[in-house]
Protein backbone atom coordinates (compact mmCIF):
# COMPACT_ATOMS: atom_id res chain seq x y z
CA UNK A 1 0.00 0.00 0.00
CA UNK A 2 2.80 2.39 0.81
CA UNK A 3 5.46 0.51 -1.12
CA UNK A 4 7.08 2.31 -4.02
CA UNK A 5 9.49 0.50 -6.27
CA UNK A 6 11.80 3.42 -6.93
CA UNK A 7 15.32 3.01 -5.61
CA UNK A 8 15.22 6.24 -3.59
CA UNK A 9 12.34 4.87 -1.55
CA UNK A 10 14.18 1.58 -1.07
CA UNK A 11 17.22 3.31 0.32
CA UNK A 12 15.27 5.87 2.34
CA UNK A 13 14.40 3.72 5.42
CA UNK A 14 18.03 2.66 5.80
CA UNK A 15 19.19 6.26 5.53
CA UNK A 16 16.69 7.24 8.23
CA UNK A 17 17.82 4.35 10.41
CA UNK A 18 21.53 4.86 9.77
CA UNK A 19 22.37 7.26 12.64
CA UNK A 20 20.56 5.08 15.15
CA UNK A 21 21.91 1.77 13.86
CA UNK A 22 25.52 2.95 13.60
CA UNK A 23 25.64 4.42 17.11
CA UNK A 24 23.57 1.61 18.60
CA UNK A 25 25.78 -1.00 16.99
CA UNK A 26 28.96 0.61 18.21
CA UNK A 27 27.94 1.69 21.71
CA UNK A 28 25.24 -0.80 22.74
CA UNK A 29 25.40 -3.99 20.67
CA UNK A 30 29.20 -4.27 20.59
CA UNK A 31 29.71 -3.53 24.33
CA UNK A 32 26.94 -6.01 25.11
CA UNK A 33 28.77 -8.74 23.19
CA UNK A 34 32.09 -7.62 24.65
CA UNK A 35 30.67 -7.82 28.18
CA UNK A 36 30.24 -11.58 27.77
CA UNK A 37 33.96 -11.96 27.11
CA UNK A 38 34.85 -9.36 29.72
CA UNK A 39 32.86 -11.21 32.36
CA UNK A 40 35.28 -14.12 31.89
CA UNK A 41 38.36 -11.94 32.33
CA UNK A 42 40.10 -10.40 35.24
CA UNK A 43 41.37 -6.93 34.44
CA UNK A 44 43.38 -4.20 36.01
CA UNK A 45 42.37 -1.05 34.21
CA UNK A 46 41.52 -1.20 30.52
CA UNK A 47 44.80 -2.75 29.34
CA UNK A 48 45.82 -5.67 31.61
CA UNK A 49 43.53 -8.64 31.18
CA UNK A 50 43.75 -12.31 32.07
CA UNK A 51 41.24 -14.93 30.93
CA UNK A 52 39.75 -16.63 33.99
CA UNK A 53 36.74 -18.47 32.56
CA UNK A 54 33.83 -18.63 34.96
CA UNK A 55 35.96 -17.77 37.99
CA UNK A 56 34.34 -14.33 38.33
CA UNK A 57 30.93 -15.92 38.76
CA UNK A 58 32.32 -18.56 41.10
CA UNK A 59 33.94 -15.83 43.18
CA UNK A 60 30.69 -13.83 43.23
CA UNK A 61 28.91 -16.71 44.96
CA UNK A 62 31.25 -16.50 47.93
CA UNK A 63 31.86 -12.73 47.91
CA UNK A 64 30.32 -11.39 51.15
CA UNK A 65 30.22 -7.83 49.79
CA UNK A 66 28.22 -8.96 46.80
CA UNK A 67 25.73 -10.72 49.06
CA UNK A 68 25.43 -7.60 51.20
CA UNK A 69 24.77 -5.57 48.06
CA UNK A 70 22.22 -8.09 46.83
CA UNK A 71 20.43 -8.16 50.16
CA UNK A 72 20.35 -4.36 50.52
CA UNK A 73 19.05 -3.97 46.99
CA UNK A 74 16.28 -6.54 47.50
CA UNK A 75 15.20 -4.99 50.80
CA UNK A 76 15.20 -1.52 49.25
CA UNK A 77 13.34 -2.59 46.10
CA UNK A 78 10.64 -4.56 47.88
CA UNK A 79 9.98 -2.10 50.70
CA UNK A 80 10.16 1.07 48.63
CA UNK A 81 7.84 -0.34 45.99
CA UNK A 82 5.31 -1.69 48.48
CA UNK A 83 5.18 1.71 50.20
CA UNK A 84 5.43 3.89 47.10
CA UNK A 85 2.71 2.38 44.99
CA UNK A 86 -0.20 2.40 47.49
CA UNK A 87 0.60 6.00 48.37
CA UNK A 88 0.81 6.93 44.70
CA UNK A 89 -2.51 5.23 43.99
CA UNK A 90 -4.08 6.91 47.02
CA UNK A 91 -3.05 10.37 45.84
CA UNK A 92 -4.24 9.58 42.33
CA UNK A 93 -7.65 8.49 43.66
CA UNK A 94 -7.97 11.74 45.61
CA UNK A 95 -6.97 13.81 42.60
CA UNK A 96 -9.18 11.95 40.15
CA UNK A 97 -12.15 14.31 40.42
CA UNK A 98 -12.78 16.66 37.54
CA UNK A 99 -14.40 19.15 39.90
CA UNK A 100 -11.52 19.25 42.38
CA UNK A 101 -10.14 22.77 42.75
CA UNK A 102 -6.39 23.16 42.35
CA UNK A 103 -6.01 19.78 40.67
CA UNK A 104 -3.31 20.88 38.22
CA UNK A 105 -1.38 22.61 40.98
CA UNK A 106 -1.44 19.55 43.23
CA UNK A 107 -0.32 17.36 40.35
CA UNK A 108 2.50 19.76 39.59
CA UNK A 109 3.67 19.83 43.20
CA UNK A 110 3.57 16.06 43.70
CA UNK A 111 5.42 15.46 40.47
CA UNK A 112 8.18 18.03 40.99
CA UNK A 113 10.58 15.94 43.17
CA UNK A 114 11.07 13.38 40.41
CA UNK A 115 12.76 16.07 38.31
CA UNK A 116 15.54 16.35 40.87
CA UNK A 117 18.47 14.19 39.88
CA UNK A 118 19.28 11.30 42.21
CA UNK A 119 22.71 12.73 43.08
CA UNK A 120 21.16 16.07 43.99
CA UNK A 121 18.42 14.39 46.02
CA UNK A 122 21.06 12.32 47.79
CA UNK A 123 22.98 15.47 48.69
CA UNK A 124 19.86 17.27 49.94
CA UNK A 125 18.83 14.31 52.08
CA UNK A 126 22.35 13.81 53.43
CA UNK A 127 21.91 17.16 55.15
CA UNK A 128 18.20 16.69 55.94
CA UNK A 129 19.03 13.47 57.82
CA UNK A 130 22.03 14.91 59.74
CA UNK A 131 22.03 14.42 63.50
CA UNK A 132 21.19 17.49 65.58
CA UNK A 133 20.89 20.01 62.70
CA UNK A 134 18.99 18.02 60.09
CA UNK A 135 15.43 18.98 59.26
CA UNK A 136 13.99 15.53 60.05
CA UNK A 137 15.42 15.28 63.55
CA UNK A 138 14.75 18.92 64.42
CA UNK A 139 11.20 18.71 63.06
CA UNK A 140 10.37 15.45 64.80
CA UNK A 141 11.93 16.70 68.03
CA UNK A 142 9.81 19.87 67.97
CA UNK A 143 6.62 17.89 67.27
CA UNK A 144 7.42 15.09 69.73
CA UNK A 145 9.92 16.27 72.37
CA UNK A 146 10.77 12.64 73.27
CA UNK A 147 12.29 12.15 69.83
CA UNK A 148 16.08 11.98 70.09
CA UNK A 149 17.81 14.88 68.32
CA UNK A 150 20.78 12.56 67.76
CA UNK A 151 18.77 9.87 66.01
CA UNK A 152 21.43 8.22 63.79
CA UNK A 153 19.65 7.97 60.41
CA UNK A 154 22.79 7.87 58.30
CA UNK A 155 24.67 5.64 60.71
CA UNK A 156 22.28 2.93 61.91
CA UNK A 157 19.07 3.53 59.95
CA UNK A 158 20.40 3.82 56.42
CA UNK A 159 17.67 1.77 54.78
CA UNK A 160 14.72 3.66 56.34
CA UNK A 161 16.40 6.95 55.35
CA UNK A 162 16.86 5.71 51.78
CA UNK A 163 13.28 4.53 51.56
CA UNK A 164 11.92 7.82 52.90
CA UNK A 165 14.00 9.73 50.36
CA UNK A 166 12.75 7.47 47.58
CA UNK A 167 9.14 8.05 48.69
CA UNK A 168 9.68 11.79 48.37
CA UNK A 169 11.09 11.32 44.89
CA UNK A 170 8.82 8.73 43.34
CA UNK A 171 5.32 8.80 44.87
CA UNK A 172 4.32 11.72 42.65
CA UNK A 173 5.99 10.19 39.62
CA UNK A 174 4.03 6.95 39.93
CA UNK A 175 0.89 8.93 40.72
CA UNK A 176 0.99 10.33 37.16
CA UNK A 177 0.63 6.83 35.70
CA UNK A 178 -2.20 5.88 38.07
CA UNK A 179 -3.97 9.16 37.33
CA UNK A 180 -3.77 8.51 33.59
CA UNK A 181 -5.17 5.01 34.17
CA UNK A 182 -7.98 6.21 36.44
CA UNK A 183 -9.06 8.76 33.85
CA UNK A 184 -9.74 5.87 31.49
CA UNK A 185 -12.06 4.03 33.88
CA UNK A 186 -15.53 4.50 32.37
CA UNK A 187 -17.50 6.82 34.61
CA UNK A 188 -20.80 5.09 33.80
CA UNK A 189 -19.48 1.88 35.31
CA UNK A 190 -18.86 3.58 38.65
CA UNK A 191 -22.14 5.44 38.58
CA UNK A 192 -24.07 2.28 37.81
CA UNK A 193 -22.42 0.55 40.78
CA UNK A 194 -23.28 3.52 42.96
CA UNK A 195 -26.94 3.27 42.00
CA UNK A 196 -26.78 -0.41 42.87
CA UNK A 197 -25.64 0.63 46.34
CA UNK A 198 -21.99 -0.38 46.15
CA UNK A 199 -19.95 1.52 48.73
CA UNK A 200 -16.64 3.23 48.04
CA UNK A 201 -14.52 0.21 49.01
CA UNK A 202 -16.53 -2.15 46.82
CA UNK A 203 -16.34 0.23 43.88
CA UNK A 204 -12.58 0.44 44.35
CA UNK A 205 -12.08 -3.30 44.80
CA UNK A 206 -14.37 -4.59 42.05
CA UNK A 207 -14.45 -1.83 39.45
CA UNK A 208 -11.44 0.46 39.69
CA UNK A 209 -8.77 -2.08 40.62
CA UNK A 210 -9.55 -4.54 37.79
CA UNK A 211 -9.75 -1.66 35.29
CA UNK A 212 -6.32 -0.27 36.17
CA UNK A 213 -4.63 -3.66 36.49
CA UNK A 214 -2.53 -3.42 33.30
CA UNK A 215 -1.12 -0.05 34.34
CA UNK A 216 -0.53 -1.27 37.89
CA UNK A 217 1.48 -4.23 36.68
CA UNK A 218 3.46 -1.94 34.37
CA UNK A 219 4.19 0.52 37.21
CA UNK A 220 5.23 -2.33 39.54
CA UNK A 221 7.68 -3.63 36.95
CA UNK A 222 9.03 -0.15 36.16
CA UNK A 223 9.57 0.65 39.85
CA UNK A 224 11.26 -2.68 40.53
CA UNK A 225 13.57 -2.28 37.54
CA UNK A 226 14.46 1.23 38.68
CA UNK A 227 14.96 0.13 42.30
CA UNK A 228 17.29 -2.70 41.34
CA UNK A 229 19.52 -0.18 39.54
CA UNK A 230 19.75 2.12 42.54
CA UNK A 231 23.16 3.74 42.83
CA UNK A 232 23.40 7.55 42.92
CA UNK A 233 20.93 8.17 45.74
CA UNK A 234 22.79 6.16 48.44
CA UNK A 235 26.17 7.08 46.93
CA UNK A 236 25.49 10.79 47.46
CA UNK A 237 23.46 10.32 50.63
CA UNK A 238 26.22 8.41 52.42
CA UNK A 239 29.24 9.68 50.45
CA UNK A 240 29.92 6.04 49.61
CA UNK A 241 28.54 2.68 50.71
CA UNK A 242 27.84 3.89 54.25
CA UNK A 243 28.88 2.45 57.61
CA UNK A 244 29.35 -1.33 57.44
CA UNK A 245 28.22 -1.15 53.79
CA UNK A 246 24.63 -0.62 54.91
CA UNK A 247 23.92 1.38 51.76
CA UNK A 248 25.86 -0.80 49.32
CA UNK A 249 23.75 -1.72 46.27
CA UNK A 250 24.42 -3.98 43.29
CA UNK A 251 25.21 -1.14 40.89
CA UNK A 252 27.29 0.64 43.53
CA UNK A 253 29.36 -2.51 43.94
CA UNK A 254 29.65 -2.76 40.16
CA UNK A 255 30.92 0.83 40.04
CA UNK A 256 33.37 0.26 42.90
CA UNK A 257 34.86 -2.91 41.42
CA UNK A 258 34.99 -1.55 37.86
CA UNK A 259 36.20 1.96 38.47
CA UNK A 260 37.75 2.14 41.93
CA UNK A 261 39.49 -1.25 42.08
CA UNK A 262 39.68 -1.26 38.26
CA UNK A 263 38.47 -4.82 37.61
CA UNK A 264 36.21 -4.31 34.59
CA UNK A 265 35.85 -8.08 34.24
CA UNK A 266 34.39 -8.61 37.68
CA UNK A 267 32.17 -5.54 37.16
CA UNK A 268 30.79 -7.13 33.98
CA UNK A 269 30.05 -10.35 35.85
CA UNK A 270 28.07 -8.30 38.41
CA UNK A 271 26.32 -6.57 35.51
CA UNK A 272 25.22 -9.94 34.13
CA UNK A 273 23.82 -11.06 37.47
CA UNK A 274 21.83 -7.80 37.59
CA UNK A 275 20.64 -8.37 34.03
CA UNK A 276 19.49 -11.89 34.88
CA UNK A 277 17.54 -10.59 37.89
CA UNK A 278 15.83 -7.96 35.73
CA UNK A 279 15.05 -10.41 32.90
CA UNK A 280 13.49 -12.73 35.48
CA UNK A 281 11.35 -9.90 36.83
CA UNK A 282 10.18 -8.94 33.34
CA UNK A 283 9.40 -12.56 32.46
CA UNK A 284 7.49 -13.04 35.72
CA UNK A 285 5.38 -9.99 34.93
CA UNK A 286 4.68 -11.32 31.42
CA UNK A 287 3.70 -14.67 32.88
CA UNK A 288 1.37 -13.01 35.40
CA UNK A 289 -0.26 -10.92 32.69
CA UNK A 290 -0.82 -13.93 30.49
CA UNK A 291 -2.28 -15.92 33.36
CA UNK A 292 -4.61 -13.02 34.16
CA UNK A 293 -5.92 -12.70 30.62
CA UNK A 294 -6.51 -16.45 30.39
CA UNK A 295 -8.51 -16.75 33.60
Amino acid sequence: MKLCATSSVKAAPWLFLAPFLLIFGAFTAWPLARSLILACQQTFGPTNTVFVGLDNFRFLLTDPLFWTALQNTFVYALSSVTLQLPLALGLALLLNRPSLRGRTLYRLIFFSPSLVGLVFAGIIFSIIFEKRTGLVNVGLHRLFPVFDLDFPWLQNYVMPALILASLWMYVGFNMIYFLAALQNVPRELEEAAMIDGANAWHRFRHIILPEIKPVTSFVVLLSLIGSFQLFELPWALLSGPGPENRGLTIVMYLYQTGFLTNDLGYASAIGWVLAVILFTLALTQQWFNRKETRS
Binding site: K2, L94, L95, Y106, I109, I127, S239, G258
Partner: protein
Protein backbone atom coordinates in the same frame (compact mmCIF):
# COMPACT_ATOMS: atom_id res chain seq x y z
CA UNK B 1 -21.19 15.22 36.58
CA UNK B 2 -20.86 15.50 40.29
CA UNK B 3 -24.32 16.94 40.66
CA UNK B 4 -25.86 14.09 38.74
CA UNK B 5 -24.53 11.48 41.11
CA UNK B 6 -25.39 13.54 44.14
CA UNK B 7 -29.03 13.51 43.16
CA UNK B 8 -28.93 9.73 43.20
CA UNK B 9 -27.74 9.44 46.79
CA UNK B 10 -30.48 9.37 49.38
CA UNK B 11 -28.50 10.98 52.20
CA UNK B 12 -30.42 13.51 54.32
CA UNK B 13 -28.13 16.43 53.51
CA UNK B 14 -25.97 15.65 50.52
CA UNK B 15 -24.46 19.11 50.36
CA UNK B 16 -23.23 18.92 53.95
CA UNK B 17 -21.72 15.50 53.37
CA UNK B 18 -20.12 16.69 50.19
CA UNK B 19 -18.61 19.67 51.97
CA UNK B 20 -17.21 17.40 54.66
CA UNK B 21 -15.67 14.98 52.20
CA UNK B 22 -14.21 17.87 50.19
CA UNK B 23 -12.65 19.37 53.30
CA UNK B 24 -11.19 16.00 54.17
CA UNK B 25 -9.78 15.44 50.69
CA UNK B 26 -8.24 18.89 50.61
CA UNK B 27 -6.69 18.47 54.05
CA UNK B 28 -4.97 15.26 52.98
CA UNK B 29 -3.82 16.79 49.71
CA UNK B 30 -2.54 19.96 51.38
CA UNK B 31 -0.63 17.91 53.95
CA UNK B 32 0.94 15.83 51.17
CA UNK B 33 1.79 19.01 49.25
CA UNK B 34 3.47 20.53 52.30
CA UNK B 35 5.55 17.39 52.88
CA UNK B 36 6.57 17.47 49.22
CA UNK B 37 7.52 21.14 49.26
CA UNK B 38 9.31 21.29 52.62
CA UNK B 39 12.64 19.90 51.35
CA UNK B 40 12.62 22.50 48.56
CA UNK B 41 11.84 25.33 50.97
CA UNK B 42 14.47 24.13 53.40
CA UNK B 43 17.04 23.83 50.61
CA UNK B 44 16.36 27.36 49.43
CA UNK B 45 16.39 28.77 52.98
CA UNK B 46 19.65 26.98 53.85
CA UNK B 47 21.34 28.36 50.75
CA UNK B 48 20.80 31.99 51.82
CA UNK B 49 21.71 31.65 55.50
CA UNK B 50 25.09 32.22 57.08
CA UNK B 51 26.76 29.18 58.65
CA UNK B 52 25.93 30.48 62.11
CA UNK B 53 22.25 30.85 61.27
CA UNK B 54 22.18 27.40 59.69
CA UNK B 55 22.75 25.83 63.09
CA UNK B 56 20.37 28.03 65.07
CA UNK B 57 17.28 28.22 62.84
CA UNK B 58 15.30 25.60 60.97
CA UNK B 59 14.12 27.73 58.06
CA UNK B 60 14.78 31.48 58.03
CA UNK B 61 16.55 33.09 61.02
CA UNK B 62 14.17 34.79 63.42
CA UNK B 63 14.63 38.45 64.24
CA UNK B 64 12.91 41.77 64.37
CA UNK B 65 12.21 42.23 60.65
CA UNK B 66 8.87 41.90 58.85
CA UNK B 67 7.09 38.68 59.83
CA UNK B 68 9.53 38.06 62.67
CA UNK B 69 12.36 37.14 60.34
CA UNK B 70 15.82 38.65 60.31
CA UNK B 71 15.83 39.52 56.60
CA UNK B 72 19.03 41.53 56.91
CA UNK B 73 20.97 38.46 58.05
CA UNK B 74 20.21 36.59 54.84
CA UNK B 75 23.11 36.41 52.42
CA UNK B 76 23.90 35.60 48.82
CA UNK B 77 27.47 34.93 49.90
CA UNK B 78 27.36 31.21 49.11
CA UNK B 79 26.25 31.90 45.55
CA UNK B 80 28.92 34.58 45.18
CA UNK B 81 31.58 32.14 46.33
CA UNK B 82 30.36 29.44 43.95
CA UNK B 83 30.46 31.74 40.94
CA UNK B 84 33.48 33.91 41.78
CA UNK B 85 35.79 31.52 43.62
CA UNK B 86 34.76 28.02 42.58
CA UNK B 87 33.89 28.68 38.93
CA UNK B 88 30.55 26.93 38.98
CA UNK B 89 29.47 28.84 35.84
CA UNK B 90 31.67 26.50 33.85
CA UNK B 91 29.89 23.42 35.27
CA UNK B 92 26.50 25.01 34.67
CA UNK B 93 27.47 25.68 31.07
CA UNK B 94 28.78 22.11 30.69
CA UNK B 95 25.49 20.73 31.98
CA UNK B 96 23.55 22.87 29.51
CA UNK B 97 25.85 21.90 26.68
CA UNK B 98 25.89 18.13 27.18
CA UNK B 99 22.14 18.01 27.90
CA UNK B 100 21.14 20.08 24.87
CA UNK B 101 23.39 18.22 22.45
CA UNK B 102 22.20 14.85 23.75
CA UNK B 103 18.57 15.93 23.53
CA UNK B 104 18.90 17.16 19.95
CA UNK B 105 20.96 14.20 18.73
CA UNK B 106 18.89 11.53 20.47
CA UNK B 107 15.60 13.05 19.33
CA UNK B 108 16.78 13.31 15.72
CA UNK B 109 18.12 9.74 15.62
CA UNK B 110 15.08 8.32 17.41
CA UNK B 111 12.46 10.16 15.34
CA UNK B 112 14.11 9.26 12.03
CA UNK B 113 14.53 5.63 13.09
CA UNK B 114 10.99 5.42 14.39
CA UNK B 115 9.69 6.93 11.15
CA UNK B 116 11.54 4.35 9.06
CA UNK B 117 10.09 1.49 11.11
CA UNK B 118 6.56 2.91 11.14
CA UNK B 119 6.10 4.00 7.56
CA UNK B 120 8.31 1.90 5.28
CA UNK B 121 8.04 -1.74 4.38
CA UNK B 122 11.49 -3.08 3.61
CA UNK B 123 13.50 -6.25 3.98
CA UNK B 124 14.97 -6.28 7.48
CA UNK B 125 12.40 -3.99 9.05
CA UNK B 126 11.05 -6.74 11.29
CA UNK B 127 14.58 -7.69 12.37
CA UNK B 128 15.39 -4.08 13.26
CA UNK B 129 12.11 -3.78 15.17
CA UNK B 130 12.92 -6.92 17.18
CA UNK B 131 16.38 -5.55 17.96
CA UNK B 132 14.85 -2.30 19.20
CA UNK B 133 12.37 -4.19 21.40
CA UNK B 134 15.07 -6.50 22.77
CA UNK B 135 17.28 -3.51 23.54
CA UNK B 136 14.59 -2.08 25.83
CA UNK B 137 15.42 -4.69 28.46
CA UNK B 138 19.21 -4.21 28.48
CA UNK B 139 20.03 -2.62 31.85
CA UNK B 140 22.33 0.38 31.41
CA UNK B 141 24.76 -0.65 34.21
CA UNK B 142 25.62 -3.83 32.26
CA UNK B 143 27.13 -1.65 29.51
CA UNK B 144 29.15 0.47 31.91
CA UNK B 145 32.37 -1.57 32.01
CA UNK B 146 32.48 -2.75 28.35
CA UNK B 147 31.31 0.69 27.16
CA UNK B 148 34.08 2.36 29.11
CA UNK B 149 36.61 -0.09 27.67
CA UNK B 150 35.44 0.64 24.12
CA UNK B 151 35.56 4.40 24.65
CA UNK B 152 39.06 3.98 26.04
CA UNK B 153 40.10 2.00 22.96
CA UNK B 154 38.68 4.71 20.69
CA UNK B 155 40.72 7.28 22.60
CA UNK B 156 37.57 9.16 23.56
CA UNK B 157 37.98 9.09 27.35
CA UNK B 158 37.87 12.55 28.92
CA UNK B 159 36.12 14.08 25.90
CA UNK B 160 32.58 15.33 25.29
CA UNK B 161 32.28 12.93 22.33
CA UNK B 162 32.92 9.93 24.60
CA UNK B 163 29.93 10.85 26.74
CA UNK B 164 27.57 12.25 24.10
CA UNK B 165 27.88 9.83 21.20
CA UNK B 166 26.70 6.70 23.09
CA UNK B 167 23.71 8.66 24.45
CA UNK B 168 22.40 9.40 20.97
CA UNK B 169 20.98 5.99 20.12
CA UNK B 170 18.04 5.47 22.50
CA UNK B 171 16.23 2.27 21.48
CA UNK B 172 13.44 3.35 23.80
CA UNK B 173 13.01 6.57 21.79
CA UNK B 174 12.92 4.73 18.47
CA UNK B 175 10.18 2.54 19.89
CA UNK B 176 8.17 5.54 21.19
CA UNK B 177 8.44 7.39 17.88
CA UNK B 178 7.55 4.28 15.91
CA UNK B 179 4.31 3.92 17.89
CA UNK B 180 3.50 7.63 17.75
CA UNK B 181 4.19 8.03 14.02
CA UNK B 182 2.28 4.85 13.26
CA UNK B 183 -0.77 6.28 15.04
CA UNK B 184 -0.73 9.91 14.03
CA UNK B 185 0.82 10.30 10.57
CA UNK B 186 -1.60 9.25 7.80
CA UNK B 187 -0.09 7.34 4.85
CA UNK B 188 -2.11 9.40 2.35
CA UNK B 189 -0.27 12.66 2.93
CA UNK B 190 3.09 10.90 2.51
CA UNK B 191 1.87 9.32 -0.73
CA UNK B 192 0.55 12.54 -2.17
CA UNK B 193 3.78 14.34 -1.29
CA UNK B 194 5.71 11.61 -3.12
CA UNK B 195 3.45 11.94 -6.17
CA UNK B 196 4.18 15.66 -6.09
CA UNK B 197 7.85 14.72 -6.32
CA UNK B 198 9.03 15.68 -2.85
CA UNK B 199 12.24 14.00 -1.67
CA UNK B 200 12.16 11.61 1.29
CA UNK B 201 14.07 13.87 3.64
CA UNK B 202 11.93 16.85 2.69
CA UNK B 203 8.83 14.79 3.45
CA UNK B 204 10.23 13.89 6.84
CA UNK B 205 11.24 17.38 7.88
CA UNK B 206 8.32 19.36 6.40
CA UNK B 207 5.42 16.91 6.91
CA UNK B 208 6.26 14.36 9.61
CA UNK B 209 8.18 16.57 12.04
CA UNK B 210 5.44 19.24 12.31
CA UNK B 211 2.82 16.55 12.92
CA UNK B 212 4.96 15.02 15.65
CA UNK B 213 5.69 18.26 17.46
CA UNK B 214 4.18 17.32 20.86
CA UNK B 215 6.04 14.01 20.91
CA UNK B 216 9.29 15.67 19.80
CA UNK B 217 8.91 18.30 22.54
CA UNK B 218 8.31 15.65 25.18
CA UNK B 219 11.24 13.55 24.06
CA UNK B 220 13.58 16.54 23.93
CA UNK B 221 12.64 17.31 27.53
CA UNK B 222 13.03 13.74 28.75
CA UNK B 223 16.46 13.27 27.16
CA UNK B 224 17.60 16.72 28.32
CA UNK B 225 16.59 15.90 31.89
CA UNK B 226 18.17 12.45 31.68
CA UNK B 227 21.57 13.86 30.73
CA UNK B 228 21.29 16.81 33.14
CA UNK B 229 20.81 14.40 36.02
CA UNK B 230 23.27 11.80 34.72
CA UNK B 231 26.05 11.24 37.23
CA UNK B 232 27.64 7.88 36.54
CA UNK B 233 28.34 8.62 32.85
CA UNK B 234 30.34 11.84 33.26
CA UNK B 235 31.89 10.50 36.47
CA UNK B 236 33.34 7.55 34.58
CA UNK B 237 34.20 9.23 31.24
CA UNK B 238 35.53 12.63 32.36
CA UNK B 239 38.73 13.24 34.28
CA UNK B 240 39.36 16.94 33.68
CA UNK B 241 37.42 19.17 36.07
CA UNK B 242 36.77 21.67 33.26
CA UNK B 243 34.52 19.08 31.59
CA UNK B 244 32.49 18.26 34.70
CA UNK B 245 28.76 18.92 34.66
CA UNK B 246 26.98 20.01 37.86
CA UNK B 247 26.14 16.46 38.98
CA UNK B 248 29.82 15.52 39.27
CA UNK B 249 31.10 18.87 40.52
CA UNK B 250 28.45 19.32 43.24
CA UNK B 251 29.11 15.80 44.50
CA UNK B 252 32.82 16.66 44.67
CA UNK B 253 32.04 19.94 46.36
CA UNK B 254 30.23 17.99 49.03
CA UNK B 255 33.30 15.83 49.55
CA UNK B 256 35.62 18.82 49.90
CA UNK B 257 33.42 21.26 51.84
CA UNK B 258 31.40 18.67 53.76
CA UNK B 259 30.71 21.00 56.71
CA UNK B 260 29.87 24.06 54.62
CA UNK B 261 26.17 23.28 54.35
CA UNK B 262 25.13 26.66 52.94
CA UNK B 263 27.62 26.34 50.10
CA UNK B 264 26.51 22.79 49.22
CA UNK B 265 22.85 23.77 49.35
CA UNK B 266 23.44 26.80 47.12
CA UNK B 267 25.21 24.55 44.62
CA UNK B 268 22.28 22.15 44.71
CA UNK B 269 19.82 25.02 44.11
CA UNK B 270 21.83 26.05 41.04
CA UNK B 271 21.71 22.43 39.86
CA UNK B 272 18.01 21.78 40.19
CA UNK B 273 16.47 25.21 39.56
CA UNK B 274 17.00 25.19 35.75
CA UNK B 275 15.18 21.88 35.24
CA UNK B 276 12.38 22.83 37.63
CA UNK B 277 11.85 26.09 35.70
CA UNK B 278 11.93 24.25 32.39
CA UNK B 279 9.31 21.87 33.71
CA UNK B 280 7.07 24.66 34.98
CA UNK B 281 7.14 26.23 31.53
CA UNK B 282 6.53 23.02 29.61
CA UNK B 283 4.74 20.77 32.08
CA UNK B 284 1.96 19.70 29.74
CA UNK B 285 4.37 18.33 27.11
CA UNK B 286 6.36 16.69 29.85
CA UNK B 287 3.55 14.74 31.42
CA UNK B 288 2.07 13.69 28.09
CA UNK B 289 5.51 12.41 27.14
CA UNK B 290 5.84 10.44 30.33
CA UNK B 291 2.52 8.70 30.00
CA UNK B 292 3.00 8.13 26.27
CA UNK B 293 5.54 5.47 27.15
CA UNK B 294 7.83 5.14 30.06
CA UNK B 295 10.97 6.78 31.29
CA UNK B 296 13.86 4.43 31.27
CA UNK B 297 16.11 5.35 34.15
Amino acid sequence: MNNSFNSTTSSPSPSARRLLSHTLIHSVLILAAIITLIPFAWLLASSIKTSADFFTSVFLPTGTGWGGIAWDRLTLGHYERLFLELGIARNLLNSFFISSVTALGATLAASMGGYALAKFRFTGSSIVTSIVLAALIIPAPLLLAPGYLFIYQLGLLDSYTGLLLPAMAPAFGVYLFRQAIWNSVPDEILESARIDGAGEFRIFFTLVVPLMRPMIGAFLLITFLGMWNNFIGPQVIFQSPELFPLSVSINQLKGVYSQDYGLIMAGTVISIAPVLCLFLLLQREFISGLTAGAVKG
